[in-house]
């Protein structure tokens, strides 16, 4: 069930567009902000609110990489694996994080603390290698810095 706060936020987004279905991406993001991911139940509820079929909304949800249709950890690590970061050695960071947390790309730690995902170019190429944890960017990374900053996400 969508809660009142979510519905209110979604209705505000709907106001930007000529018809409710146009706000589908914003609506999915609002649900994800509140729950961390978008469940099948949420897709059904949202579809009804937006005047779409669940299948149509799911086709949108599954197209976009930043809509999670499976649960993720409390903190999502997005490690850039695009070209500038490859040149500057993201693979070393990947090996380090993967070993430290015991997870590969696409996996979540057993305690639900971290999910590790690859991400395309973050636009930090002049300060690569780069990554994001949740909404925060980190640049010019070394394994020591990665170690320290990961600890700060509980």
């Amino acid at each position: 069930m969508l809660n009142e706060k979510e519905i209110k936020e979604i209705e505000k987004e709907i106001g930007q567009y000529p018809y409710p279905a146009a706000a589908s991406i914003d609506a999915l993001k609002i649900v994800q902000k509140h729950h961390g991911w978008v469940s099948d139940e949420s897709v059904d509820d949202l579809a009804r609110l937006l005047g779409m079929s669940s299948e149509e909304l799911d086709s949108v949800a599954t197209f976009y990489t930043r809509i999670y249709r499976k649960p993720v950890g409390r903190n999502v690590i997005l490690l850039c694996d695009s070209i500038s970061c490859m040149i500057m050695g993201y693979e070393t960071l990947y090996d380090y994080i993967s070993k430290k947390l015991g997870i590969a790309f696409g996996e979540t730690t057993g305690d639900g603390r971290y999910t590790l995902l690859p991400i395309s170019c973050l636009g930090d190429c002049d300060h690569s290698p780069a990554m994001m944890v949740n909404d925060n960017h980190y640049n010019d990374l070394t394994t020591e810095e990665v170690d320290k900053l990961l600890e700060s996400y509980k």
Binding site: Q16, Y17, P18, A21, A22, A23, S24, I25, D26, L28, K29, L50, S59, V60, F63, Y64, T65, R66, I67, D81, S82, I83, S84, M86, I87, M88, I119, S120, C121, L122, G123, D124, C125, D126, H127, S128, M132, D135, N136, H137
Partner: protein, 395 residues
């Protein structure tokens, strides 16, 4: 901006932008004034014109719009007000990439400020012109940067490129006349409206008007971003601004304007950075943000990384892109792993042609073909060495 809205007609402004020869800064270099002149601006109660700012910067190696969004949001907003007036759009969107969290916050604050000061909303500065400006934050996918895919995404759909024609100026957002311009392009508009076309033209060293944001990433001493006149040479950018190659690394080649541009090598270093001159050298200026290939990075791994990106980011609509890119990616991977065969090289060349212009709805696959075809041209021996030695010489 005030003068533009008060003293100039919409067609005066479009004429001015046309005569300034401002070419779109998003990568394609299409004349902005020409794009605007396709918009119907006569009073029509049925039509709702839209202006959309493309801030979905996601081309690998590209980081120029982020600096503009974070550094000077009001310059963009002022440009969008004048541009909206020129194309008679009373609603405008900024389509911003989800990863630009800092830029989004700054922009959103700036929009609130602009509303408070009467620069947005009803009857802007008493001129009778109305404009509402909204931010849409994306949910990922590189293809959203393609202007018609972006429009589908703004409509809450999957970001599939549309057939052209009809062009967005005829049927764009929600079927209404729409102009889509890049952040850097729109950031110029209020300056050109204030200072004129000749001033703008005088800023560049070539026929094309203006300065451009140029960036360099990779193993150079000082990776970064600079605003410089169009027409500056690649050598000057690399040596004087980026400080030359980093200690212990040698130059082998570069992509002049993001991942979807052809490689240039040593012999091209005196090429002037402008749309026509880079094209004459066999590549594209694209976004103007270069990626440097050094001698300690494997060119096959470099191209594999790029093709993997394009394969993952394909929307899956057209066959050459959906089927061709994963095939290319797998062959490059096996060459890199030492299990490739010589026959792959001809196949890669023919696939690069098959994915090229004219076979797909949008420029995604043709863009992916550019670094591939030019890598085969300039680094052919490296591909062959991988195949003959059955391993990557860099590993």
């Amino acid at each position: 901006m005030y003068r533009a809205l008060r003293e100039m007609s919409p067609s005066d402004i479009t004429g001015l932008i046309k005569s300034s020869n401002l070419l779109g800064r998003g990568g394609a270099g299409f004349p902005t004034g020409v794009k605007w002149s396709l918009m119907p601006v006569e009073k029509d109660k049925v039509k709702q014109n839209y202006l959309v700012c493309n801030a979905d910067e996601m081309e690998p190696g590209t980081f120029k719009d982020r600096y503009l969004l974070e550094g000077n949001p009001h310059q963009l907003i002022a440009g969008m007000i004048v541009a909206s007036y020129a194309v008679q759009a009373s609603r405008a969107f900024i389509f911003i990439r989800w990863a630009y969290t800092k830029a989004e916050k700054i922009l959103s604050k700036a929009i609130t400020e602009a509303y408070e000061e009467g620069y947005l909303g009803k009857n802007i500065l008493g001129t009778g012109f109305d404009l509402d400006l909204y931010i849409h934050t994306s949910a990922g996918r590189y293809i959203c940067g393609e202007e018609t895919a972006l429009l589908n995404s703004l409509e809450g759909k999957r970001a599939m490129p549309r057939t052209k024609p009809p062009f967005p100026a005829v049927s764009g957002l929600f079927g209404q006349p729409t102009v889509v311009n890049n952040v850097e392009t729109l950031s110029w508009i209020s300056h050109i409206a204030e200072k004129g076309a000749d001033w703008f033209k005088g800023l560049s060293l070539t026929e094309t008007g203006g300065t451009k944001l140029f960036g360099v990433s990779g193993r150079v001493k000082k990776p970064g971003l600079w605003e410089l006149p169009l027409g500056i040479t690649i050598r000057e950018l690399l040596d004087e601004y980026a400080g030359g190659m980093a200690e212990g690394y040698h130059f082998r080649g570069l992509l002049p304007g993001g991942a979807s541009t052809d490689f240039l090598v040593e012999e091209h270093l005196d090429t002037k950075m402008d749309f026509s001159t880079v094209a004459a050298a066999g590549s594209r200026m694209g976004t103007g943000t270069m990626i440097i290939l050094d001698d300690r990075t494997c060119p096959v791994a470099f191209v594999h990384n790029i093709e993997k990106f394009f394969a993952l980011e394909s929307c899956g609509w057209c066959t050459p892109c959906r089927e061709g890119l994963p095939w290319v990616e797998k062959m490059l991977w096996s060459i890199e792993e030492g299990t490739g065969r010589m026959t792959y090289l001809d196949l890669l060349e023919s696939l690069a042609a098959y994915m090229g212009p004219g076979h797909t709805f949008c420029a995604h696959a043709p863009g992916a073909a550019e670094p591939l075809q030019s890598a085969l041209k300039y680094f052919y021996d490296d591909f062959v060495k991988h195949i003959n030695d059955k391993k990557c010489p860099w590993k």
